[in-house]
C-alpha cells in the first residue's frame, strides 16, 4: 500500500498548499441582522472614481465636491458652498468644508481634489471619463481649503461634473483598496462575487442606519429574481418582466423610477431615404410608442418624443406627439410629398424606394424588440425597414449609411452628450453625431447653452433646440425607460428621482445612508 499512500500524500499536499494560499483575509465580523444585501446585474469595472467609478455621484464610498438631491438639484458635499464663477466664466472656485476626513483619518484638502481631477485629465492614465472633463484646463489648490478650476471655455455644467468622488492624493488609481470620505467605508471585495461596505461612523452627516451593505453581483436577471425570492437579497435591480412576479406581494415594495435613458432611431442624414425629412416625420408619426411601452417594456417606460426627459425642468412641453401613433396622418404626409405606393406596397418617389436598413446591437434584446416594432409600424405606412442585428464593431463603420437604434440620456444637464450628438463639429466622429446632422442654428443654441452662466438663457436655448430637433425629426425617439427596484421590508427615506442610464452605482441606492427601517 505504500504506493497508494505516497500518491495520497502527493494530492493531500497539493490540496493543503492550495488551502494555505487561500486563507481568507479576516475582516470584522458582521453585526447580527445589520446587513443589507443589494443584488446588482453587473460588476463595477473599477472602484476608482478616476477610472470611471460613479462620476455622477452615488458611489457611497466617495464624495464629490457637490452631490445631487433626488430632484436633481445640486448641494455642496465636500465643498462648503456652491462654486463662485468669474465674470468671464473661465475660473470656477470651490471652498472646501472644514474637517472632512477620509476613512483612514487623513484630512481631505484641496490637494486631494487637485490630484483627483489631474489624474482624470492625464492622458497617460487611460481614464475612460477624461472626455467629460475636457473643458478643464488646470486645477489648482492655492490653500488646503480652496480649489480653482481654470477652463478652456465657459462651461456651465462644471458644477454638475463636480460630483466626481475625491480620492486621497497619491493613492494608486487601481481602486483596489478604495478610500473615500463617503457614508460607507470599504471592507472587502470578492472579484466576480460581491463588495462589502460598512457604515462610516464618523460621516460628516451622521452614521448611516444600515450598518453594513453587501453589493452582490449576479448577471442573469432570473438568477437575481430567484435569489431575491429566496430571501438572499434585501433589494435588487430587475428588468420589468423579471420584476413582475413581485407585484402585489406584501413583504416587498416595487419601485418604478423614471429615467432620462431613451431609445431612438438615429438616421444617416446623407442618404436619399433617411435624409428625406418627410420620410422621417412620417415614421415619427407612425410608430406606436404606447404599444412599445406596454409590450416591450412591460409598462415600465414612457413614450419619448425628444432627447430631454419630460420629468426634468429642461423639457420643452411643445415637444410631444400621439403616444399610440397616427399612421393615417403619416400616409397622408408621404402621399402629399410624392411618395406613392408601388406594386409591393412600398412607396417610392422619383424611382427611389422608401426602404432603409435599421441596425441594432445583436446582444441587446430590448433594442431588438424595439426595432421589430418599428419595422412593423413602418410597413403599415409603406416604408420598408430591413433589420440588421450586428455587433458594435460591425455597426460602427456603417453608422453614416444605415439607421441605428441608439440609447443615451442623462437627466443632469441637457449639455451632457446632447452637444456631441448634434453639434456639427462632431459630425461623423465615432458614435457622436454619426448621422452627420449639421444645422448652424442648432450649433448656436448648443454653444449658448454650454457657455452661458445665466440659467434663464440656457433654458431658452435648450427649449428652442428641442423644438428644432423635433421639427426636423433628426432622430425618431421611441421610449424613455423606467428602472425597476424591488425592496424587501419598509424603509423611510427612499426617495426616487429621475435617473440616468447608468444607475447601478447610484439610482435609488444613491442615498441609502439616509434610509431607516420603518417602525
Amino acid at each position: 500500500m505504500r504506493l497508494a499512500r505516497r500518491l495520497a500524500a502527493l494530492f493531500v499536499t497539493s490540496g493543503l498548499l492550495a488551502g494555505a494560499c487561500s486563507a481568507p483575509s479576516a475582516g470584522p465580523a458582521a453585526p447580527a441582522g445589520g446587513t443589507f444585501v443589494i443584488g446588482l446585474g453587473s460588476e463595477f469595472d473599477t472602484l476608482s472614481p478616476v477610472m470611471g467609478y460613479a462620476p455622477d455621484g452615488g458611489s457611497l464610498i466617495y464624495e464629490g465636491l457637490m452631490s445631487r438631491e433626488p430632484d436633481l438639484s445640486l448641494t455642496p458635499a465636500v465643498a462648503a458652498a456652491p462654486p463662485t464663477v468669474s465674470a468671464d466664466g473661465l475660473t470656477v472656485t470651490f471652498t472646501l468644508r472644514d474637517g472632512v476626513r477620509f476613512h483612514d483619518g487623513r484630512p481631505l484638502t484641496g490637494a486631494d481634489v487637485e490630484y483627483t481631477y489631474e489624474a482624470v485629465l492625464d492622458g497617460d492614465n487611460d481614464s475612460p471619463i477624461r472626455g467629460d472633463y475636457a473643458a478643464i484646463e488646470t486645477v489648482d489648490a492655492p490653500d488646503p481649503r480652496t480649489v480653482v478650476f481654470t477652463l478652456a471655455h465657459p462651461y456651465a455644467p462644471l458644477a454638475q461634473r463636480a460630483t466626481l468622488g475625491i480620492v486621497p492624493s497619491g493613492d494608486p488609481l487601481t481602486g483596489d483598496r478604495p478610500v473615500g470620505s463617503g457614508p460607507y467605508r470599504f471592507v472587502s471585495r470578492t472579484p466576480g462575487d460581491k463588495i462589502v461596505l460598512e457604515a462610516n461612523r464618523d460621516y460628516r452627516a451622521g452614521p448611516p442606519a444600515l450598518s453594513r451593505l453587501v453589493l452582490a453581483f449576479a448577471e442573469d436577471d432570473n438568477v437575481r429574481a430567484t435569489r431575491m425570492s429566496a430571501g438572499e437579497f434585501d433589494a435588487v435591480i430587475l428588468p420589468p418582466k423579471a420584476a413582475a412576479r413581485f407585484e402585489g406581494r406584501p413583504d416587498v415594495t416595487v419601485h418604478e423610477v423614471p429615467s432620462a435613458d431613451y431609445r431612438g432611431i438615429m438616421f444617416p442624414l446623407g442618404r436619399p431615404v433617411t435624409g428625406d425629412r418627410t420620410v422621417r416625420r412620417a415614421l415619427g408619426l407612425a410608430v406606436d410608442r404606447q404599444a412599445m411601452v406596454d409590450v416591450v417594456l412591460a409598462g415600465a417606460g414612457t413614450p419619448a418624443f425628444g432627447p430631454v426627459s419630460p420629468d426634468t425642468a429642461w423639457h420643452n412641453p411643445a415637444v410631444t406627439g400621439v403616444p399610440d401613433g397616427d399612421p393615417e396622418a403619416a400616409r397622408r404626409l408621404l402621399q402629399e410629398d410624392g411618395w406613392i405606393p408601388g406594386e409591393d406596397g412600398v412607396r417610392a418617389k422619383d424611382g427611389v424606394r422608401a426602404a432603409f436598413t435599421l441596425m441594432y446591437p445583436a446582444g441587446d434584446s430590448l433594442r431588438k424588440e424595439l426595432a421589430l416594432a418599428v419595422a412593423s409600424d413602418a410597413k403599415a405606412i409603406g416604408v420598408d425597414v430591413r433589420l440588421a442585428g450586428l455587433d458594435w464593431d460591425a455597426i460602427e463603420p456603417r453608422m453614416s449609411t444605415d439607421a441605428l437604434i441608439m440609447g443615451y440620456g442623462s437627466p443632469y444637464d441637457p449639455d451632457y452628450v446632447t452637444y456631441e450628438l448634434f453639434h456639427s463639429s462632431y459630425a461623423r466622429r465615432g458614435f457622436f453625431n454619426p448621422g452627420g446632422y449639421d444645422d448652424p442654428e442648432a450649433d448656436r443654441l448648443l454653444e449658448t447653452g454650454r457657455r452661458s452662466a445665466d440659467p434663464a438663457v440656457r433654458r431658452r436655448a435648450y427649449l428652442d433646440f428641442q423644438k428644432i430637433v423635433h421639427d426636423e425629426e433628426v432622430w425618431t425617439y421611441l421610449v424613455f425607460l423606467k428602472h425597476v427596484y424591488v425592496i424587501r421590508g419598509r424603509y423611510e427615506g427612499v426617495r426616487p428621482g429621475v435617473e440616468a442610464h447608468e444607475h447601478a452605482t447610484g439610482g435609488l441606492f444613491r442615498d441609502i445612508h439616509t434610509w431607516k427601517p420603518a417602525a
Binding site: R2, L3, F11, L17, R212
Partner: protein
C-alpha cells in the same frame, strides 16, 4: 476478452509482476525520502541500487521538460497574440464598456496609443515578452488591476477547487472502476460502465446546470454559486465547504469517466494474470488479492492517464467556474477573452500551459517513484 494491447504493453509480465510486492520496491521508496537511509548502510548495498538513479532520473526529466517548455510557451503565447489580433472585437471599446458610445474619439485614440495597439503585432508581442522576462505581467485592462495581483487573488480558489476535484475523482473512479472489474458483467458493472459512457458524452456546462437545477433550485440543498453566502463578509469554512460541493463534484464527475473505464479495464486485465491466480491459489483473502495485488499493478498506467488528463481538467475548470460563479483564474480567463484583455489573457494562457506541462511532469515523476523499472531502464 483479452487485455487490451495498451494495458498489456505497460503492465509487467507475470515474472516481473511478482517483483512488485517484493521488499526491493519498499527500499527504493525509503531511499527516495531522504539521503539518511542511503548513508545508514552504504557499504552493504551494491552500487547500482535502483534508488541511486531516482534523483538523477527526476532531475534529468525535469530538465528535459523545462527545455521543451520554453519553445512551447513561446509558441503558445505567439499563437494567442495572433488570435487576439484577429479577433473582431476592439479592446478599447470593451475597455470603455457602456461608455464607449459617449467617449470622445480622441480619448479612445489616446488609450489605443498608450496601449501600443497602433503598433505592429510583432512589436507588441516583443514588448510584452520583454516585460514578462523582467517579471512585469502588465495591467489587466478589464479589471483595472495588475495582472499579478489578479492571479494571486484568484489562483488559490482555482487550486482549491481543482485539487479537491482531483482527489474526489481519483478516489471515486478507483472505487467504481475496481468494483466494476471485480463484478464484471454484473448489473452493477453495467450500471457503472453505462453511466461512465453517458457521462463522457455529457458536456460539463450541461452537467453543471443540471446539478444547479436539481440540488439548488428544485431541492434547495446547496447554494447555486459564488464562494460564500451573499450576506457574509468573511470566508468561513462551513459556508465555503457548502459552496464547494457542487462545483467540485461536477468537475470531478465530468473528468472521471475515462478513469473509471480505464481502472475497470486495467484491474480486470490484471485479475487474469498468473500472479493473481497464484495469490489466490496461496489462499490469500480476495480483498487482499484485489487491493494489494491487482489494483496495485493496475495503478501504474493510471498515473500516466492522470497526467494526460490535465488539459481536460483545465478546460473543465473554465466551464465549471463560469457556471458556478467561482472566482478563480479559469473564469477570469473567460472574462479576459471576452474583453480582449491581452495582458490578462496572455498571462492566463501561460499559466494554463504551465499547468499542463507541470501536470505531465508530476505524473511522470510519480511514475518514476512508483515503478523502479522506469528509472533503471532510463525511460525519461
Amino acid at each position: 476478452m483479452s487485455p487490451d494491447p495498451e494495458t498489456a504493453s505497460v503492465l509487467p509480465d507475470p515474472a516481473t509482476g511478482r517483483v512488485l510486492p517484493d521488499p526491493a520496491t519498499d527500499r527504493a521508496g525509503h531511499g527516495a525520502e531522504g539521503d539518511g537511509v542511503k548513508r545508514a548502510a552504504p557499504a552493504a548495498r551494491p552500487p547500482r541500487r535502483p534508488s541511486d538513479g531516482l534523483g538523477r532520473a527526476i532531475a534529468r526529466m525535469a530538465a528535459w521538460r523545462a527545455a521543451f517548455a520554453a519553445p512551447l510557451l513561446l509558441a503558445v503565447t505567439a499563437g494567442m497574440f495572433a488570435l487576439a489580433k484577429a479577433s473582431p472585437f476592439d479592446p478599447v471599446r470593451q475597455y470603455l464598456g457602456d461608455r464607449a458610445v459617449v467617449t470622445d474619439p480622441a480619448v479612445a485614440e489616446r488609450i489605443r496609443a498608450n496601449w501600443g495597439l497602433d503598433r505592429p503585432v510583432l512589436e507588441q508581442y516583443a514588448t510584452w515578452l520583454g516585460n514578462l522576462l523582467r517579471g512585469d505581467l502588465g495591467e489587466s485592462r478589464s479589471l483595472h488591476l495588475p495582472v499579478g495581483q489578479v492571479i494571486a487573488e484568484r489562483l488559490p480558489w482555482t487550486l482549491l477547487a481543482t485539487s479537491a476535484a482531483i482527489v474526489l475523482m481519483l478516489a471515486g473512479s478507483l472505487v467504481a472502476g475496481t468494483v466494476a472489474a471485480r463484478r464484471r458483467g454484473s448489473w452493477l458493472d453495467r450500471f457503472i460502465t453505462g453511466g461512465a459512457l453517458a457521462n463522457e458524452a455529457a458536456p460539463v456546462f450541461w452537467l453543471g446546470l443540471l446539478a444547479i437545477s436539481v440540488f439548488s433550485v428544485r431541492l434547495g440543498w446547496l447554494p447555486a454559486g459564488g464562494l460564500t453566502d451573499a450576506a457574509s463578509a468573511t470566508v468561513e469554512l462551513g459556508d465555503l465547504a457548502a459552496h464547494m460541493v457542487l462545483p467540485v463534484t461536477v468537475l470531478a464527475v465530468s473528468q472521471s469517466s475515462w478513469l473509471v473505464l480505464y481502472v475497470r479495464e486495467s484491474v480486470s486485465g490484471v485479475l487474469r494474470e498468473d500472479f493473481v491466480t497464484g495469490a489466490r491459489a496461496r489462499g490469500l483473502r480476495e480483498r487482499t488479492v484485489l487491493v494489494r495485488h491487482a489494483l496495485r499493478s493496475a495503478l501504474l498506467p493510471f498515473l500516466t492517464l492522470l497526467g494526460a488528463r490535465v488539459p481536460e481538467l483545465v478546460t473543465g475548470a473554465i466551464l465549471v467556474e463560469t457556471v458556478f460563479s467561482w472566482p478563480g483564474v479559469a473564469s477570469a480567463s473567460v472574462q479576459a477573452a471576452l474583453a480582449v484583455d491581452f495582458p490578462l489573457l496572455a498571462a492566463l494562457t501561460l499559466l494554463g500551459t504551465l499547468a499542463v506541462v507541470g501536470g505531465n511532469l508530476l505524473a511522470d515523476i510519480a511514475y518514476t517513484i512508483a515503478d523502479p523499472r522506469v528509472r533503471t531502464l532510463g525511460v525519461g
